[in-house]
């Protein structure tokens, strides 16, 4: 696999307010290398914001940093969001439903993972007590897989 086929960009950022927005600029700039539509770029940006916010809010990582790895292929973008925090078990996260949230005295939060799964074509989470890796893939339209978000 040559550099021309897969381009890997790594970004390490501190967990500070608004850094998740700064990170989306990198996505914008990489999208010049992939035939994404504007909406697709937008969807990737939103998904990355959610993943970053989760690392910022929940990971409790001692180094207060996250690593983002972007793998730019000719027809797809893979993004890994890595924190060195406490980890979690994604299987234990309940699927949020609006009817269980509205008019009930419950936390309205809990949408991040669901949004990520619907905005991206693939989402895998590997997490243990050394940290969490969220791996997300988006295909350019022409190469799009049977995408989860088409079924919403």
């Amino acid at each position: 696999m040559t550099v021309q086929e897969i381009k890997e960009i790594m970004l390490t950022v501190p967990m500070i307010p608004d850094m998740e927005l700064a990170v989306t600029k990198t996505v914008e700039s990489l999208s010049r290398f992939i035939p994404f539509t504007g909406d697709q770029v937008d969807e990737v940006k939103h998904a990355i914001i959610e993943a970053c916010m989760n690392a910022f809010e929940h990971s409790r990582s001692a180094d207060c940093r996250i690593l983002l790895v972007f793998k730019v292929g000719p027809c797809k973008l893979t993004v890994e969001i890595v924190d060195h925090g406490k980890g979690f078990d994604p299987a234990l996260v309940e699927d949020p439903k609006i009817e269980n949230k509205l008019f009930k005295n419950v936390r309205k939060r809990g949408w991040g993972l669901k949004l990520m799964k619907h905005l991206m074509d693939e989402v895998d989470i590997v997490s243990n007590r050394n940290g969490t890796v969220v791996r997300m893939v988006k295909y350019a339209d022409a190469y799009r897989k049977e995408a989860l978000n088409e079924s919403v």
Partner: protein, 116 residues
């Protein structure tokens, strides 16, 4: 740092809220506070124009869910206008649009709210 502003146009029972900037927890709270203030002063119908807020996060939207709950409990209505297709998709994924409509622009929203 991130700038967030809202502009409010309030006439009788209707208010148009135009946000400008990233809707995160702070942005969501700012919108929510203003709408709650209007609710208390008797306003019941809210048109939330997100044209200048192309980026939201789910924390911000959760605050909007609380707001929608309060508005509906006060027998009011809250609708969105000028959503980017990604935000519309986000709201659809969350099932939000069953409780708060979305319209292309403020005029259409106003017409539809009056019909409701």
């Amino acid at each position: 740092m991130n700038q967030f502003n809202i502009d409010i146009e309030h006439t009788g029972d209707y208010a148009v809220i135009r946000s400008d900037g990233y809707i995160n927890n702070l942005g969501g709270e700012k919108i929510s506070e203003e709408c709650c203030r209007l609710l208390e002063s008797g306003c019941r119908n809210f048109i939330l124009n997100l044209e200048k807020s192309p980026i939201v996060n789910s924390i911000g939207v959760s605050i909007l869910i609380e707001l929608i709950e309060r508005v509906l409990e006060s027998d009011g209505k809250l609708v969105f206008t000028n959503l980017t297709s990604t935000i519309a998709k986000t709201f659809r994924i969350m099932g939000l649009l069953q409780y708060a409509g979305a319209f292309p622009d403020e005029l259409t929203a106003l017409d539809e709210i009056k019909k409701m």
